[in-house]
């Protein structure tokens, strides 16, 4: 199993991964609570980026409404916990189930009726907006006034109910991110992975080679939705408050896809690299603004916008492909004329 997971990764890459992992495990012992939160955010964005990447990077289906699955996942687990005292470890199955069904409905409608490209992207936004307005009027989870999880001062980490310190959430998120990375690595090497890439590159040719493109696009949407909703569960229990206006908002959907786009759509390392760059730069910016005594909302988003603009213009494949070449990690051996 391990051997299968690590197949095809160059030795230097493995070494760097191991060092990186050790660093991520060790860091919380040496840095402040605040920095742990920042690291947590990096992992959070790397995780959802990885989930989104399955749909866009692997199968080539552009979703701009992924906040839908974060929101559904968050609300499902939170509501089960608040109303019935059900542990999020059980609730997350409901989260994944609901998000998978939502993804399946969107996918079924779009792929059966031949809605593709930008139209598909707009359809995904429309469904997220549906949910946003719907949840505003969904009184079981307190509608637009927001849904809150009970908060106390936790002296002990209660992993079963996900009540505890930032560090607990950090390690949980680290585990999830590593698992997502390994899962995606394995997926890319599986039949589904090959088929997704084929569909992304040319649906007609893929179909002519015996691939049921409807089925495999559905797999991608459902898997991506379910995985994204797990991040939603963490989001709910970490922040303890949910507002439809925020969690389903289009700006959240955009925020989720920045990391994989900046890192490199369709690459395994892309979401992590992108999340790291984006969060690190944003924190740097925050520090500078603090020093200058400027406190204006929106600056961070303008900065995100500029980063996105620059990457889309000058690094259309993202940061990782050229970076990995620089580090000598690209897997394909360039053969000279022959």
């Amino acid at each position: 199993m391990i051997k299968l997971l690590l197949a095809g990764v160059p030795r230097t890459g493995l070494l760097m991964l191991a060092i990186l992992l050790a660093l991520f495990v060790a860091l919380p012992f040496f840095v402040s609570d605040y920095l742990v939160t920042v690291l947590f955010l990096i992992l959070y964005f790397a995780f959802v980026g990885q989930a989104w990447n399955i749909m866009m990077g692997f199968a080539g289906q552009l979703s701009l409404g992924h906040a839908l699955y974060v929101g559904l996942g968050a609300y499902a687990a939170a509501a089960l916990y608040v109303h019935f005292g059900i542990s999020p470890w059980i609730g997350l199955w409901a989260s994944m189930g609901i998000s998978a069904v939502a993804g399946a409905i969107i996918g079924f409608l779009a792929f059966r009726f031949g809605v593709g490209g930008v139209y598909f992207a707009i359809l995904t936004i429309a469904f997220a907006e549906f949910a946003r307005i719907g949840f505003d009027h969904f009184t079981w989870v307190d509608g637009s006034s927001g849904f809150f999880l009970p908060v106390a001062n936790y002296t002990e980490n209660d992993l079963w109910n996900l009540r505890g310190s930032t560090r607990m959430f950090y390690y949980l998120m680290l585990g999830m991110t590593v698992a997502a990375l390994l899962a995606c690595h394995a997926l890319l090497r599986s039949r589904a992975g090959y088929y997704w890439l084929a569909i992304r590159e040319s649906p007609e040719a893929a179909q002519a080679l015996g691939i049921n493109i409807f089925k495999y696009k559905m797999y991608a949407v459902v898997l991506s939705a379910a995985m994204t909703s797990l991040a939603g569960v963490i989001f709910a229990f970490f922040y303890n408050n949910l507002f439809p206006e925020q969690i389903f908002h289009i700006s959240r959907s955009i925020e989720l896809i920045l990391a994989p786009i900046i890192g490199g759509v369709g690459t395994l390392a892309g979401p992590l690299v992108g999340a790291f760059l984006l969060t690190a730069l944003a924190e740097g910016l925050r520090e500078v603004m603090l020093q200058l005594g400027v406190d204006v909302p929106g600056v961070k988003q303008v900065f995100y916008g500029i980063c996105l603009l620059l990457v889309v213009m000058f690094l259309p494949d993202g940061v990782w492909p050229p970076l990995s070449k620089l580090l000598g990690l690209d897997r394909k051996t360039p053969d000279r004329e022959g």
Binding site: L64, V115, I125, H137, I306, V312
Partner: protein
């Protein structure tokens, strides 16, 4: 959700529908800009609503600083937006016309993100509006009571839309742009400066949305956050009416305006845009080319 329908007399329905129709015409003009850009340049302007709020803020500043009526300020505002659109296309988007669809889309997402947050920085998150001398005037038309602001805005929208129709139908430049839309390579072969024409088109689309923004300023308040909402609304309208179809955009605008107004009346006002999205989903599924759109093979 509760229904108030049974308590509401018929005139109110009529009034609300009429008011939705008038607002819908302004929506239609805004969407016309998106449709023209898509029809010619084949780029989906994801920053459309954000460009409209830029126009609204200019109108707001001109009104508060100089007392200029937004419906008059509409002309210079459209000119400013035209220049902005021209430069945007010439400088940023033209190099992208051969890139994949999602790449163009992300470029405009980035521009939208920058625009909306620059507005947030400059004007803050609170809603701001203008009160003109006719803000509270209304006309009685039989059983109908019509807001003067909405009526003026709708008339202005019709005038601008008519001018745009005339431009594309009768002027040489308009015909050249249509030639580009029909056949990109053909247009290159006969020596048309396609990049310039694309930039002009984007400018025209931006001018439309600029004018629509100035008009809307007399009807609604502006906050930065309505930008993305109106981008979505423009998509809904254009897809409903038919991407690239100019009459389709106006028809879609009216349809969405009336749907929203009646939806707001029958259910709660805050749920009104759900009806617009419901309409979008239905159209995407059953008539993806839109009501007046041409079917592509």
């Amino acid at each position: 959700m509760f229904t108030r329908g049974s308590l509401v007399p018929a005139e109110i329905y009529l009034n609300v529908a009429a008011s939705g129709l008038l607002t819908g015409l302004v929506y239609g003009l805004m969407a016309l800009g998106l449709s023209v850009i898509f029809g010619v340049v084949r780029v989906v302007n994801f920053a459309h609503g954000e460009m409209m709020t830029v126009a609204m803020y200019i109108a707001l500043v001109l009104f508060t600083a100089y007392g200029l009526d937004p419906l008059v300020a509409m002309v210079p505002i459209a000119a400013v937006l035209f220049a902005f659109g021209y430069l945007l296309q010439a400088g940023l988007i033209n190099p992208f016309i051969t890139r994949p669809e999602h790449s163009q889309f992300m470029l405009l997402v980035a521009i939208a993100l920058i625009l909306v947050n620059l507005q947030l920085i400059a004007f803050g998150p609170d809603a701001q509006g203008v009160h003109t001398s006719y803000s509270f005037d209304s006309y009685a038309l039989g059983p109908l009571i019509i807001d003067a602001s909405k009526a003026y805005a709708a008339i202005a929208a019709l005038v601008v839309a008519a001018a745009l129709f005339a431009f594309f139908r009768f002027t040489l430049l308009g015909k050249a742009i249509r030639a580009c839309a029909d056949n990109y390579h053909g247009a290159l072969v006969v020596g048309l400066n396609v990049k310039h024409l694309y930039a002009l088109t984007f400018g025209l689309g931006a001018a439309c949305v600029g004018a629509a923004g100035a008009m809307l300023m007399v009807v609604i308040d502006v906050t930065p956050s309505i930008g993305p909402a109106y981008t979505l609304l423009a998509f809904v309208i254009v897809i409903t009416g038919g991407m690239g179809s100019m009459p389709g955009a106006l028809l879609g605008g009216v349809l969405i305006g009336v749907t929203e107004a009646l939806g707001g009346l029958l259910f709660t006002p805050s749920a009104k845009s759900m009806f617009a999205f419901g309409l979008l989903v239905l159209v995407l599924l059953f008539r993806p080319q839109g009501i007046l759109g041409k079917k592509t093979a």
